[in-house]
């Protein structure tokens, strides 16, 4: 099992903030909108650098999505910023009609996704957003795993044409993807080659998958760990190739089982190459208040849970 050097401890939302500033420096058409959460989304640097290109939309997310669509029609590259909950469920119809169906070039930047939002509790801990967004035709869905990857993803999506949902989180989290790792939309990132089980992880759970890889290595199990940062379009070849090699699969994500990464991979494998599969995800439940670490343990999203799922998956191999 490859050793990953921890390069620091930073929140993925800060990666977004840094990426947004850089994207803004590279392209004067990049504009940003925020629904009264500028500090939480780490958009202050962009706002200070480009005050005329920053639009405070107030606590009115539906309008913000429409305004972003209008800006995109004229040729701007708008990024909307608010919590993942208010970036999706609250404005689903606006996204569906004015952004997805109209194929406007809007980048929906969604912070504080998942349980690791922590103490604010279930009203804010959206666990359904990947499902909501991936169902929309033409929507690209990205959930990066650390600060560096979030920054790189932000810069990458500014350069592509089409609507994107970019999901990231609140807590400080290990930084382990090097700054110079290229971010290719739709291309899975091989983190550790292995032979006994394929672990496909996204977002914060990628680090948990790496920790699980060490737990498994101590038992003599060789885990292949693949970072699926782009949930849609899914890197079909990477999933099929790895699943064929190892013969069983674990998915890991900070999301409901219904509608998440595991659901996409299960569908793909059921259609193309049925393979034993175990999911590490929230099982049809809302979250609750607590620290991120406590919540990941209680809802079975910790590294030990990923390792246990791998053992179960291996046991199901024919």
């Amino acid at each position: 099992m490859r050793k990953f050097e921890i390069l620091g401890s930073k929140d993925t939302r800060s990666g977004f903030g840094a990426g947004l500033l850089e994207a803004g420096q590279a392209d004067e058409n990049v504009v940003a909108l925020c629904a009264d959460l500028t500090g939480s989304l780490m958009m202050d640097a962009f706002k200070d650098a480009f005050p005329t290109r920053f639009i405070q939309a107030g606590i009115a997310e539906a309008n913000m999505m429409g305004v972003a669509a209008g800006l995109a029609i004229g040729g701007k590259v708008p990024f909307t910023g608010t919590f993942a909950n208010f970036s999706t469920g609250r404005v689903y119809d606006q996204i569906r009609q004015s952004i997805a169906y109209s194929h406007t070039n809007v980048k929906i930047a969604a912070s504080h996704a998942g349980l690791t939002l922590g103490e604010d509790g279930a009203t804010h801990q959206i666990l359904e957003d990947i499902g909501l967004m991936k169902m929309l035709p033409g929507m690209t869905v990205i959930n990066p795993c650390d600060y560096n990857q979030t920054k790189a993803a932000t810069i990458a999506i500014a350069k592509m044409n089409g609507p994107v949902y970019l999901r990231f989180g609140r807590p400080k989290w290990p930084v382990f993807i090097s700054e110079d790792t290229p971010f290719v939309i739709g291309k899975a990132l091989m983190l550790n080659e292995g032979t006994d089980v394929s672990i496909f992880a996204t977002g914060h759970l990628v680090w948990k998958a790496i920790e699980a890889g060490h737990i498994l290595a101590e038992k003599g199990i060789s885990a292949e760990i693949i970072n699926i940062h782009t949930i849609k379009p899914l890197d079909i070849d990477a999933v099929i190739t790895s699943a064929k090699k190892t013969g069983c699969v674990v998915t890991a994500e900070e999301h409901q089982m219904n509608g998440g990464l595991g659901d996409s991979i299960a569908q793909l494998l059921a259609l193309k190459m049925p393979t034993p599969l175990e999911m590490v995800a929230v099982n049809d439940s809302f979250g609750e208040s607590g620290t991120p670490d406590e919540l990941l343990v209680k809802y079975h999203l910790d590294s030990q849970d990923v390792a246990d799922a791998a053992v179960r998956a291996i046991a199901r191999k024919i």
Partner: protein
């Protein structure tokens, strides 16, 4: 500049187009379409500076129109075709399989003249405000027009957009409300009162004008007044009184024709009231 007579001729042909489209597929929304036929004819054939034959989605350096109440697509498609965005013959494909003229307007099939999908109500002012803001960022002095229904004002997003537009001094946008006081389930007063409409917009800090959208004198007075208020720091709304079903006697004075196609007998009666013009049917 076209004369009122010429514009009235176009509007009559637009009304024929609306009814022929709806009748052909036995579905669609003739009532509001007929009510707005005069206004959209005035906009597309007199007041907007736009480039139908070289349509660009961005609408840079030209006036742009958004239809927020997308269900009145028949009138939108007719004025777009008649002003040269696409061949008038294409109106024969309205609502049929593989058409660019979907039941509600969309960019999805690439129909020239449409810049965003609409149909789910309440979103048009937000989008228009976004494009108006984009024009300001680009020092583009052209105007963004948007039409909404009056029942549509029951959507909360409308008032988010109204607040936003004042905050950002979106003074290069003119919103027109089709004030026909009718919606699917009945009169707006019965369904969900939108009382004191002018006062509401005034309280939000907008310039408010009132107009009769079926009276050419009123439109030729009020539209230039609205245009004269552009660039003065305030968003502009025209509360436009119209008659749903205007031009066809049995469709007027009722909400019944909001979303219903006429029978053969009714169609014959309607066509007799709107004789074919020199522009000809599609």
């Amino acid at each position: 500049m076209r004369t009122v007579n010429e514009l009235q001729t176009i509007a009559t042909q637009v009304r024929r187009d609306i009814l022929r489209m709806v009748y052909a597929v036995k579905s669609g929304h003739p009532g509001g379409s007929l009510g707005c036929a005069d206004f959209l004819t005035a906009l597309y054939f007199k007041y907007m500076k736009h480039n139908p034959s070289t349509f660009e989605l961005t609408g840079n350096q030209e006036d742009v129109f958004f239809l927020s109440n997308g269900h009145i697509s028949p009138v939108f498609y007719s004025v777009l075709a008649r002003s040269g965005y696409f061949p008038v013959e294409e109106m024969a494909t309205f609502r049929k399989l593989n058409t660019r003229l979907q039941g509600h307007p969309t960019t999805h099939e690439g129909l020239p003249g449409v810049r965003v999908a609409s149909g789910s109500l309440g979103q048009g002012i937000s989008v228009a405000a976004g494009l108006a803001l984009e024009k300001k960022l680009n020092n583009d002095n052209s105007t963004v027009w948007v039409l909404t229904g009056d029942g549509e004002l029951q959507e909360g997003q409308i008032w988010e957009a109204v607040m936003f537009s004042k905050h950002y001094k979106i003074d290069n946008m003119i919103v027109t409300v089709d004030f026909n006081q009718k919606q699917i389930d009945g009169s707006t007063g019965d369904v969900m009162g939108i009382t004191e409409l002018s006062s509401k917009f005034l309280a939000f800090g907008w310039e408010v004008l009132e107009m009769d959208g079926n009276d050419w004198n009123s439109m030729d007075t009020v539209i230039p007044q609205a245009q004269a208020k552009l660039g003065q720091g305030k968003p502009i709304v025209i509360i436009m009184k119209t008659e749903m079903g205007q031009g066809v006697d049995f469709m007027m004075g009722t909400h019944a024709w909001h979303g219903k196609a006429p029978s053969e007998e009714q169609m014959n009666s309607a066509m007799a009231q709107l004789p074919v013009t020199e522009l000809g049917d599609y």
